[in-house]
């Protein structure tokens, strides 16, 4: 693909990712400058999706490293297959077969290497997309190790020496900003902050993702969700995925417009917390939500 902002935008659209101009330009810059793209934002705004779409755009493999507390190099980079090595040693002791000789040389060969996502991305022949998801969940030591890998795209395996990336992968890191990431890591990345979408953008997303939805219903859903996010101090604001689920639920109930009953039946789809449901009932309620939506919904966004 000829890399340009317009082409990238068109490709994002083609893969069903409704992105605003800033998102496209930032992704373009990361690709152009060969730098990792760090995407921060609340849960459910489409951070991970960017990596998936980029893999689609470049028709390449998506390699995913899901981060969690306690993740270490063994799980992220490589590990020797200890059990297989042990069997080999046992076999070499009892067998006279030539193949089982020279065990020591063979024990650290390709056959016994368990490749984890980072190594896989470095050794890949085609430029892959490496998604390092929820980077804010790892320990600081691992973060430091990671930014070394990301700056040089090479790793050292003592038995083999240094391995340099055949192709520098497209790296996408995502973070829910639960923890402040180190300056070192941030400095090595191109930064993008994804916030909840505007009602217009969400309307386009619903239309693209929920087949068979009426124009009126999709507009009402997008306005309602935006209104809820803005007016209620919820523990967990509805994500884009929940908006889509809500629209799908309403379509499944054959609704072509919102009604208080429909909202009541489907509250559990959009709120994932009892406190939030109570807050909605106390401070807003289905009737008031619908009146607000019909009067134009939330127009002002920070």
């Amino acid at each position: 693909m000829d890399l340009s902002i317009e082409n990238l935008k068109a490709k994002f659209n083609e893969f069903g990712y409704i992105a605003d101009y800033e998102t496209v330009v930032t992704a373009y810059l990361a690709l152009k400058m060969n730098k990792p793209l760090l995407v921060e934002g609340p849960p459910g705004v489409g951070k991970t999706e960017i990596a998936k779409v980029l893999a689609g755009v470049f028709d390449t493999e998506l390699i995913r490293l899901q981060c969690y507390e306690g993740l270490d190099e063994n799980k992220a980079l490589y590990e020797w297959n200890y059990q297989k090595q042990l069997i080999k040693i046992q076999l070499s002791q009892i067998s006279t077969n030539d193949q089982c000789q020279n065990t020591e040389d063979n024990l650290f060969s390709e056959e016994y290497l368990l490749e984890r996502p980072l190594l896989k991305a470095i050794r890949s022949d085609n430029k892959p997309v490496l998604l390092i998801d929820e980077i804010d969940k790892v320990d600081q030591e691992f973060e430091a190790f990671l930014f070394e890998v990301l700056s040089d795209f090479q790793v050292s395996i003592p038995e083999w020496g240094t391995l340099k990336a055949k192709q520098i992968p497209v790296v996408v890191l995502t973070s829910n900003a639960e923890r402040e990431l180190s300056d070192g890591l941030k400095r090595r990345c191109v930064y993008l902050y994804l916030d909840y979408p505007s009602p217009d953008k969400e309307l386009r997303i619903i239309t693209a993702k929920v087949p068979g939805i009426s124009e009126r219903l999709s507009m009402e859903v997008s306005r309602a969700v935006s209104f809820i996010r803005e007016k209620l101090e919820l523990r967990k604001k509805p994500s884009i995925a929940e908006t889509i689920d809500w629209a799908r639920a309403l379509v499944s109930l054959d609704a072509d417009r919102m009604s208080p009953d429909m909202v009541n039946f489907t509250l559990n789809v959009i709120f994932k917390n009892k406190d939030d449901i109570d807050l909605f009932r106390q401070n807003l309620g289905p009737q008031e939500l619908i009146s607000a939506v019909q009067n134009g919904g939330s127009q002002s966004r920070r």
């Binding site: 330009v25 810059l29 400058m33 921060e40 507390e69 270490d72 042990l86 639960e178 191109v190």
Partner: protein, 473 residues
């Protein structure tokens, strides 16, 4: 030619352009970086190079693309992005807009000069010369800053000061009172300077550069931030009831982050797992004793115990809503937390916060039950109870958070107790609601800051900054 080469060529062209002497873009770019740094965004040289490379990759005539290139390479948080956006809009303006801004600044300066002139004239008094000589006007020698303070005073205060001058000292020929008057006026203005400063809400103080053109931009951005993010930078005591729900949700979010941050930093990260020999042998008997499957000891994540001690005495009354929201926010996100409130006595309120009920009900229950609200402060007594009756809570995994303005009886004794307490626990963090600018004049601050890590915390921006910076080491 590869993409990398094209990019390098563009950077080279850019560098050539710099060397050619025109330097229009470069000068602007450097000045822009300078402004961003003065607005608190940390930008390294490597990031400046990245920004230049990014600019070479976008259409320089497209404002949105240029702004996005800056945001992508220089801003590293939503707050940075907001500041950068405002600085960009203030910096990259048309010559007409620039001229208009300079015009406005000049107007402001003129008004200020007039006000200072007026101040000089107003603060004068008449004194009668010796042996029946004619009365003469005496002007008090004020510094520019003092004049500025005077011009900012409310009208009634100006009038009071003048009346005082004229009534008390007019025609006083017995002793030459000039020195006395000058010192009286100066100390009064000094008090007002301090008071007005306290009243002045706003984003963290900006270091002005002294260069008029840059300072203009800094002023404009600071003023805009103040308007937009008012709640964020407002002293918590001044947050109105209407704004409270939004503030409460922000406090809850920040206190949750504080909790996560503490637990992450203090849980023991054992990267090398320990082999469980007993289980490994038992499990591998089936393989004839060959250690085929290794069994590791289960990782035990050690979350710290948090002890939260909040001051609810009279001097802290204005922060009561904040303190309660903070306690509620922390309690709902951390399991191992013990909460106390204190004034003259200390009370344990852990159970109230542990109940799964709304904030309003919790607050009503605590206020109705407790007798601590609005009384005097005896931190010494509070610490005595904590180290005595609750000593089982104190060990090397305990993290203590104190929210107080440090104003207490028996400060020295309290300091000694705090020092003892520090030896027993992991760490003590003190969130001080007293503005930092008055810390030097409050002796209790220096006593307690010796034994704890003290942070200014009277706006949501402060609380956020505590979380963001590397302070919680």
């Amino acid at each position: 030619m590869s993409t990398g080469n094209v990019q390098n060529e563009k950077v080279q062209q850019f560098v050539d352009h710099v060397e050619s002497g025109e330097q229009y873009i470069e000068k602007n770019l450097t000045r822009f970086m300078h402004i961003l740094r003065h607005l608190g965004i940390r930008i390294s040289s490597a990031e400046v190079v990245d920004a230049v490379k990014a600019l070479a990759s976008v259409d320089m005539l497209d404002g949105i693309q240029v702004l996005t290139a800056f945001k992508a390479t220089l801003a590293k948080s939503p707050e940075d992005r907001l500041i950068l956006e405002k600085a960009f809009r203030a910096f990259f303006v048309t010559p007409e807009q620039k001229a208009e801004r300079t015009e406005k600044r000049k107007e402001r300066e003129e008004i200020e000069a007039q006000e200072m002139q007026a101040a000089e004239e107003e603060i004068s008094y008449q004194v009668e010369g010796p042996q029946g000589e004619e009365q003469r006007d005496v002007t008090i020698p004020l510094t520019d800053e003092e004049k500025k303070t005077y011009s900012k005073l409310p009208e009634n205060q100006k009038k009071r000061l003048n009346d005082y001058l004229n009534k008390q000292f007019q025609s006083n020929s017995v002793n030459n009172p000039e020195e006395l008057i000058t010192s009286m006026i100066k100390s009064s203005l000094n008090y007002w300077k301090y008071y007005l400063k306290l009243q002045d809400d706003g984003p963290p103080e900006i270091n002005y550069t002294g260069e008029e053109e840059i300072d203009e931009i800094l002023q404009e951005v600071a003023a805009e931030l103040r308007d937009d993010e008012q709640l964020y930078y407002k002293d918590i005591e001044k947050i109105t009831e209407t704004d409270m729900p939004t503030a409460a949700s922000l406090i809850a979010k920040l206190s949750r982050r504080l909790a996560t941050r503490i637990s992450r930093r203090y849980h023991r990260s054992k990267k090398r797992q320990r082999l469980d020999i007993r289980r490994t042998i038992r499990h591998n008997i089936r393989f004839g004793g060959t250690m085929f499957n290794l069994k590791y000891k289960t990782k035990k994540i050690e979350k710290p115990r948090i002890v939260l001690i909040c001051d609810v005495s009279g001097s802290m009354a204005k922060y009561a809503a904040f303190v309660l929201q903070f306690m509620y926010g922390l309690s709902s996100s951390v399991q191992e937390i013990e909460s106390f409130i204190f004034s003259e006595e200390i009370e344990r309120v852990t159970d109230e916060f542990k109940k799964p009920q709304s904030f309003d009900i919790t607050m009503t229950e605590i206020i109705n039950r407790s007798e601590s609200w609005g009384r005097g402060t005896d931190f010494n007594k509070a610490l005595a109870v904590i180290t005595g009756s609750y000593r089982h809570l104190l060990n090397k995994d305990t993290f203590i958070i104190i929210v107080s303005d440090t104003k207490t009886l028996n400060a020295e004794k309290s300091g000694a107790r705090l020092s003892d307490l520090k030896k027993k626990v992991k760490d003590i963090v003190w969130l001080n609601t007293l503005p930092k600018k008055v810390w030097s004049s409050a002796p209790t601050v220096s006593i307690f800051s010796r034994h704890s890590r003290m942070f200014e915390c009277n706006t949501l921006a402060h609380l956020d900054r505590i979380m963001r910076s590397q302070m919680l080491k």
